[in-house]
């Protein structure tokens, strides 16, 4: 009984961490269908910015995080406007190659600038402790992650499905030329969306740092994990990514409680089963 | 004589949408059957059901005396069925000639042969080139298919179906995008096909339909509205109201 509630609580918390880390990719890969393997690198940039601001400059966490997210978004926008825009029409494999290359360079840069050590984001006292749930305790920071995760999921899903911008975005992805000839400013749409994806990646990097520590290889380490979340959730479905993240978080946590010596076997088996059952993801549109 | 193709009460739903309803008709050797009807009547869906792209919810499809309702697409093709697509469906990067050769290898049952080069079948190569020549595409033999104009790609759709030397040929708006003159000539050329071949054609150009078909089935809202000779259909007031106009 106790184990079950532990699994539920820890699984939910871990799932939300997975979600905030993956949601940016859900935008760039899922929605824009741009195979953005540099997602982890953007997350890393966001995380490092926040770590730098809070630790070296002693900024308040609440100020540093939005700024770090903004900075990542700007980096995304600049890269999109200068280089990545030329890759939308290219083969997916070219996108893979380019974004992997970009990731390598960002890893090497990070390593050269900040060294190989783990970077910590300085948490404010209100988040640093843990919260007593009666029968157990839980890190306070996870509550923030859960709240932000839900908020981001709602905001993103509504933007995509309910607003004019969402229609523009999906139209642009389907047939850019035709979208443009209907008067949709496709360049703006693409650039903004990519920047938003990068910013969300940055947010994930910051908020997820407690569980997925920031170090240069961060950019590649969790790539498979976030790809799995996006795949299981279904291309282009933010809500799907949320469900997938929670499901996978629960499974992973349950396996830690009950059968940890099987490693990530259950995680991947779960993914295989879900995809075999629903090839287009949990929430197929 | 058993019909080449027979549909028995074929049905298909997409969620709440009843797309084909209890459709039955037959196609005999030598038939030139036109399937017409308003947009969204379910004509393409019916062709998908016959060729096995889309499974039927109920009903049966019989091909040359055999129930093929549950067979996969490939098996139906081997039973002598060939089709074209309304929305051009080709391998975009392959040279046009290779595209045709694929069909020929498949017809000859060679597509599992994994050692001899495709160039070592001179008879088939010649046949492919001859076929391209007949469609005026000989000069494009080495061109990548996607580099052809839309109308030329429509012709390849036809050429591929012909290459299979089918017994039953399903043509889904083959003339769309082809200049009218060429379309007319294409159809009269179809007339010269072997007599025992059954052709089912979907087409919205009534000039061509009335010239080509010896029998017409009108589909409306997924059900057969009328069936008969071209003259019957032309005069049928229901068909005029639903489809033909004045």
């Amino acid at each position: 009984m106790n184990t079950l509630s532990n699994i539920l609580i820890d699984g939910l918390a871990y799932g939300m961490v997975l979600f905030v880390i993956a949601v940016g990719l859900s935008v760039t890969l899922g929605l824009m269908r741009f195979v953005n393997l540099s997602h982890g690198a953007f997350a890393m940039v966001g995380g490092y910015c926040a770590a730098l601001l809070t630790r070296e400059l002693q900024w308040s966490f609440w100020l540093a995080v939005p700024l770090a997210v903004l900075a990542t978004g700007c980096l995304g926008a600049v890269l999109e406007a200068t280089v990545l825009r030329h890759l939308y029409q290219r083969k997916e494999l070219d996108q893979v190659l380019f974004t992997i290359g970009l990731t390598f360079v960002l890893i090497a840069t990070t390593n050269a600038l900040a060294g190989p050590q783990v970077q910590m984001v300085q948490l404010p006292p209100s988040l640093a402790g843990s919260i007593d749930l009666g029968f157990r305790t839980m890190p306070a920071q996870r509550l923030l992650v859960i709240a932000v995760g839900v908020a981001v999921a709602l905001a993103a899903a509504l933007t995509v499905t309910r607003t004019r911008f969402g229609i523009w975005l999906r139209a642009t992805v389907d047939h850019p030329g035709t979208a443009s000839s209907l008067g949709i400013p496709i360049r703006t749409v693409q650039c903004l969306t990519f920047a938003a994806g990068a910013a969300l990646a940055g947010l994930g990097g910051v908020l997820g740092a407690e569980v997925m520590p920031l170090e240069p290889y961060y950019a590649l380490k969790y790539l498979v994990l976030v790809l799995v979340v996006v795949a299981v959730g279904g291309m282009g479905s933010i809500a799907g990514s949320l469900c997938a993240a929670i499901l996978l978080g629960l499974i992973e946590t349950a396996s830690k409680y009950l059968a940890s010596d099987w490693g990530s076997l259950f995680f991947f088996a779960a993914m295989a089963i879900v995809l075999a059952w629903r090839p287009n993801g949990l929430l197929k549109r | 004589m058993s019909p080449l193709l027979q549909l028995r009460q074929v049905d298909k739903r997409y969620g709440g949408l009843h797309v084909t309803r209890q459709v039955s008709f037959r196609l005999d050797a030598g038939d030139r059957l036109a399937l017409i009807g308003p947009n969204g009547a379910g004509k393409t869906t019916l062709v998908h059901q016959i060729s096995g792209v889309v499974p039927s919810d109920s009903g049966e499809v019989w091909l040359r005396g055999e129930n093929v309702t549950r067979l996969p697409q490939a098996r139906r093709v081997r039973h002598g069925l060939a089709r074209t697509f309304q929305i051009t469906t080709l391998a975009p990067h392959l040279p046009v000639q290779r595209q045709i050769e694929m069909a020929l290898f498949e017809r000859e049952g060679l597509s599992a042969s994994a050692w001899r080069s495709v160039d070592s079948y001179p008879a088939l190569t010649a046949e492919a080139q001859e076929l391209l020549g007949r469609f005026g595409l000989r000069a494009h033999a080495a061109t990548a298919t996607e580099d052809l104009a839309y109308g030329e790609q429509r012709l390849i759709e036809m050429a591929l179906a012909m290459a299979l030397r089918p017994k039953v040929l399903l043509l889904d708006e083959p003339m769309a995008g082809v200049p009218k003159g060429d379309g007319a000539r294409l159809l009269s050329a179809l007339d010269a096909l072997p007599k025992d071949l059954g052709v089912l054609i979907i087409e919205h150009d009534m000039d061509l339909v009335f010239r080509f078909a010896n029998r017409i089935v009108v589909l409306c809202e997924g059900a057969v509205l009328a069936e008969g000779s071209p003259d019957d259909i032309r005069r049928d007031p229901r068909v005029r109201a639903a489809y033909l106009g004045n």
């Binding site: 229609i167 030329g177 | 003159g181």
Partner: protein
């Protein structure tokens, strides 16, 4: 204010190493209906796409309502009043029918949508279906309706009748005529159904190898079987 809606001056365009349009020039007057005909692969589609700005120019210039739009992007041209019905229809598969219609809309949605649904009742029935779930003809309707909702001053239509049932075709051409009288919209129509196109249009140009080879009054051209036979290869009737 220029009396010409569109002026295409010795335009060059192509794909990769290939040149498709080679010195293409033609004009469209305000309120005029121009038919563009020619065999497969002569560059009709490319011409329309170049005017719209979807295919980049390699030479020449395009003037729209007197303004040089050669360097503008497609959406800027759309804002100035150009509209295109692409030959491949390009319905957005991940949008529903209604969202497809809203994509290019600049006005209040309600009135515009009901206009579109009046023209194509079939679309109203399918309004919540995905764009990838439509029949060929329904896609064509959607593509035309979508372009019309943008309220273009010059509408470029690439085989807009293809795949439509005869009844719809007649209705649609009638609607186009009506619209032309009401709003003074100019139209360039590419059509393989040459007789229909010539009956609808006021003037016609024939393309071959990416250039205009013949230009005439549509009604006159319709009777000029020699010319048609030569350039379009049709011996209809």
């Amino acid at each position: 204010m220029s009396a010409l809606m569109l002026e295409v001056k010795s335009v060059q365009a192509g794909y990769g190493p290939m040149t498709v349009l080679d010195g293409l020039s033609f004009q469209v007057a305000r309120g005029e209906r121009l038919a563009m005909i020619g065999r497969n692969g002569v560059g009709k589609t490319t011409a329309l796409r170049a005017v719209m700005g979807v295919v980049p120019l390699r030479g020449g210039s395009i003037l729209f309502a007197g303004e040089d739009v050669s360097r503008l992007s497609a959406h800027q041209r759309a804002e100035r009043g150009l509209g295109l019905v692409p030959q491949t229809r390009d319905v957005f598969p991940s949008l529903t029918v209604e969202e497809n219609l809203l994509a290019g809309l600049k006005r209040r949605p309600k009135a515009a949508l009901s206009e579109a649904y009046d023209l194509f009742p079939r679309l109203a029935e399918r309004r919540h279906n995905g764009g990838n779930q439509l029949s060929g003809g329904e896609q064509q309707m959607l593509s035309v309706a979508r372009a019309l909702l943008g309220q273009p001053r010059l509408l470029l239509m690439d085989e807009p009748l293809e795949g439509l049932a005869p009844l719809i075709r007649q209705e649609l051409l009638a609607a186009f005529r009506h619209m032309g009288q009401q709003t003074g919209i100019s139209v360039v129509i590419v059509e393989q159904q040459v007789d229909e196109a010539l009956a609808y249009a006021g003037r016609a140009v024939i393309l071959d190898h990416g250039a205009v080879v013949h230009e005439d009054d549509a009604a006159k051209l319709a009777k000029d079987t020699d010319t048609l036979e030569r350039w379009v290869g049709m011996a209809v009737h």
